[in-house]
Amino acid sequence: MIALSHVVKKFAGRTAVDDLSFTVARGEIFGLLGHNGAGKSTAIGMMLGQVWPTAGSVKICGHEVQSDRRAALLSVGAIFETPVFYDYLSGTRNLEILSTYTAPTSKSRIREVIDWVGLTGRAEAKVRTYSHGMRSRLALAQALLPRPELLILDEPSDGLDPEGIHEMRQTILRLQRELGLTILLSSHLLNEVELLCTRIAVLQQGKKVFEGNVADVKAARGKVALKTGNFSAAVELLRARGLITGATEARFLTLAEGRTPAEIAQTLVTAGFAVDGLWQHEQTVEDFYLNLIKPPSVQN
């Protein structure tokens, strides 16, 4: 559905996106991670034909965005971080206006989408009376109007309260489950990305520094948590035996290649350590992300 190939974007000599390539397959929920200014919004802008790439190619639904933008965006819906509308008009009027930029849309389709996002009863009210949550729903409604196959969400949970974030997460999952949409999600909320995405790409200073499955991220560089009376002595012993390569936070051990927790337990018990607990620690996307973007000097 999305294919970026060696995309470069420079603004007045500053490189915002540098040789970015990735693909998103149909039906995936793909997460785009990165700090502020990492190039996520620029990359999304290039996917939507709002920002012209300096080099490279961007294809959406098989169509080159630069040369065939209309065909590329015909089945695409997008939501941006701050949902903005014509505040002085009603929700329905806003949807009518936005729908005409894609294709003729019937009133029944507009009503259907309003029902789907749960704005029934408030759609005729002026948007200036809407809460942030209602604006987010209206943003979702406008994105769903053209019956998209691909949904691009740029920080959709930005500014929402925990309840709103939960609701947005459930909606995204519902979109994929019920409508079979492909979703590209750019977010700062790493927990959200972990709960929603099947694959992620991490951008740092415009460059892609990682692309892979969330499941692999969680399993990768797996750590073992150890609870014992004398952690530092245990680490010294395990290091001397070549069973671990590192230890952090007085709790976690990084296993050496090919070693297992069972070997750790056996070695410690044999050496007379009281092992109160030993378990596989699953890495979160947040752990992974923070480790990835840390400067080399601070990495473990």
Partner: protein, 278 residues
């Protein structure tokens, strides 16, 4: 689809309160001018000028005469302000508010979007002028009778017409005023397509018009007057002359239409290569 897009663009434009600032200002200005004409020495001075030229003043202090009299300063001062205010808003305000990014996430081409917006701006210019003309006549009819028409503007027009001929010419003048308003709006629209705030687009357009007017009035530039857009804005007064200088009017109108189209194309070219970011 174009008509649906245009209809919605007009909904956006006429749904905003600030769109009506110009209409409100015109109403206030017309009321003030009408009262000033009726209750100060302005009317008696005007009557003296008519008598001095051999006309019976009572026959020409009429709805049409007073309407044109009220329109002259408004066309020169207020119309550029409100036409450029709306033209400057059309693209830049949407970019500033963030709605432009939402529109451009849809498969509409940038040229098409701009053409729809520009067309809506031209319709606004026409509506503004028609409202201006109708309210001027409406207000004037409250205090003055329906009689012959006298048009005087120093150095530009001095004309006496029958009521029926005057009405036809008055309607014709509205057309030329609408063209003027369209050009003013188009210049502001062109700046609005660049990466700038709406107020900056309006100020730049006003500055452009002001500079043109100042230079046109400098004696040294008299021989180059055709190069100044404000020179061609005078068509709306020329139509009251006897005989009507159609050649000059046609030449000016062609230049004004070309000016509008050029402003649109320049704006569209800049907008086409712009990156739209939040």
């Amino acid at each position: 689809m174009f008509l649906a897009q245009l209809k919605n663009e007009l909904w956006k434009l006429f749904g905003k309160k600030r769109t009506y600032i110009g209409f409100g200002a015109f109403l206030l200005a017309q009321t003030a001018m009408l009262l000033a004409f009726k209750y100060t020495r302005w009317q008696s001075d005007f009557e003296r000028m008519l008598s001095g030229n051999g006309y019976l003043a009572a026959e020409f202090i009429s709805v049409l005469t007073v309407s044109v009299l009220m329109l002259i300063p408004q066309i020169m001062l207020l119309m550029p302000l409100y036409a450029t205010l709306v033209g400057g808003d059309l693209v830049a305000k949407e970019a500033e508010d963030g709605t432009l990014r939402m529109i451009l996430a849809r498969p509409i081409s940038r040229y098409r979007l701009l053409f729809v917006k520009w067309s809506a701006g031209l319709i606004f210019a026409i509506v503004l002028v028609v409202a201006l003309g109708l309210t001027a006549m409406g207000f004037a009819s409250l205090l003055f009778p329906w009689k012959g028409m006298f048009v005087f503007s120093p150095g530009q027009a001095f004309s006496v017409l029958s009521a029926s001929e005057g009405l036809v010419r008055f309607i014709g003048s509205l057309f030329f005023m609408a063209v003027n308003a369209g050009v003013m709006m188009s210049v502001a629209f062109m700046f609005s397509c660049c990466n700038m705030k709406p107020a900056a687009a309006t100020i730049l357009a006003l500055s452009f018009l002001f500079v043109s007017m100042v230079m046109e009035n400098i004696p040294f530039f008299e021989r180059y007057e055709n190069f100044f857009v404000t020179h061609h804005f005078k068509c709306w007064l020329l139509i009251f002359l006897n005989p009507v200088p159609w050649t000059q009017i046609c030449q000016s109108e062609i230049i004004l239409f070309a000016m509008s189209a050029t402003a649109f194309l320049l704006g569209a070219m800049v907008f086409q290569v712009r990156d739209i970011k939040s």
